[in-house]
């Protein structure tokens, strides 16, 4: 197996995730896209871990999973809060900042 086949898979997932983040309106979908990105990172970490014969990648992959979980938790909490206040979870509506 080539190193690159994994890395390219990760790259493709990453880019799809980027597309999702940019193009999606629904906050939940944006969060899902972010998950895609995080997963692609994990694939990279584990690939390099195998290539270099070390276990550091595994450790970090686990950390990332944990962080992702936390992020989803907080993110969805935010989404709920927004929904409660604005009756919408479209990120386009979240433009309080422009005057």
């Amino acid at each position: 197996m080539f190193v690159n086949q994994f890395l390219f898979l990760a790259a493709i997932l990453f880019c799809i995730g980027v597309y999702g983040v940019v193009a999606r309106k629904n906050a939940v979908l944006v969060l899902m896209s972010i998950e895609l990105i995080l997963n692609s990172v994990n694939i990279n970490l584990l690939t390099f871990s195998l290539r270099n014969g070390s276990t550091d990648g595994h450790t970090f992959a686990l950390y990332i999973i944990a962080v992702a979980a936390a992020e989803v938790g907080v993110g969805l909490g935010l989404v709920l809060l927004v929904y409660r206040n604005k009756r919408s979870i479209s990120v386009d509506d979240l433009s309080e900042m422009s005057g």
Partner: protein, 164 residues
């Protein structure tokens, strides 16, 4: 090796299709389910990469916990269970060029850096013990930090979601 390769390509194909559906489907619930497919595929890839423990964690945490969270989030925000028309925003036209540019950058870098380099054929499966030695050894500090992050997230999520 060949079997593994075939496995990789099939799973990779499924993942890519799944990921594309996640970002293109018009139904939030479907998106979540497609995400499950991708995450499961990722777990399978981890196994191919000799990372059983991570794969299992992935299944447990992601497919178990995170997906449930997503589905709950979807329902609590009263998204319609079914197709919706305007899930995409006006920046959709930006998405493809940006993603394409990033892919180009990464692709060039990857080809230049790794070319035809191969992964070691026989790699010992990383045991859970090795991982725990790592976590509680050299990477203890990040682990603590992560613990605080999780704690903060829990507290934060509660605070945010509480009705008052």
């Amino acid at each position: 090796m060949i079997a593994q390769n075939i496995g990789f390509w099939i799973i990779a194909l499924v993942m890519i299709v799944g990921a594309l559906r996640v970002v293109t489907t018009n139904n939030v619930v479907h998106a979540a389910l497609w995400l499950v497919v991708v995450l499961a595929g990722a777990a399978a890839q981890y196994i191919l990469l000799a990372a059983e423990f991570v794969a299992i964690t992935q299944v447990l945490v992601y497919i178990g916990a995170v997906m449930v969270l997503f589905l709950f989030g979807t329902m609590l925000t009263r998204a319609r269970i079914g197709a919706e028309s305007d899930l995409n925003n006006s920046y959709k036209k930006w998405g493809i060029p940006v993603a394409g540019a990033m892919f180009a950058a990464m692709g060039i870098a990857l080809v230049n850096s790794f070319g035809k380099e191969k992964l070691p054929d026989t790699a010992p499966v990383v045991t859970t013990q090795q991982i725990s030695d790592q976590i509680f050894g050299p990477y203890l500090l990040p682990f603590w930090a992560l613990s605080f992050v999780l704690l903060a997230a829990v507290v934060g999520a509660i605070v945010l979601a509480r009705k008052d």
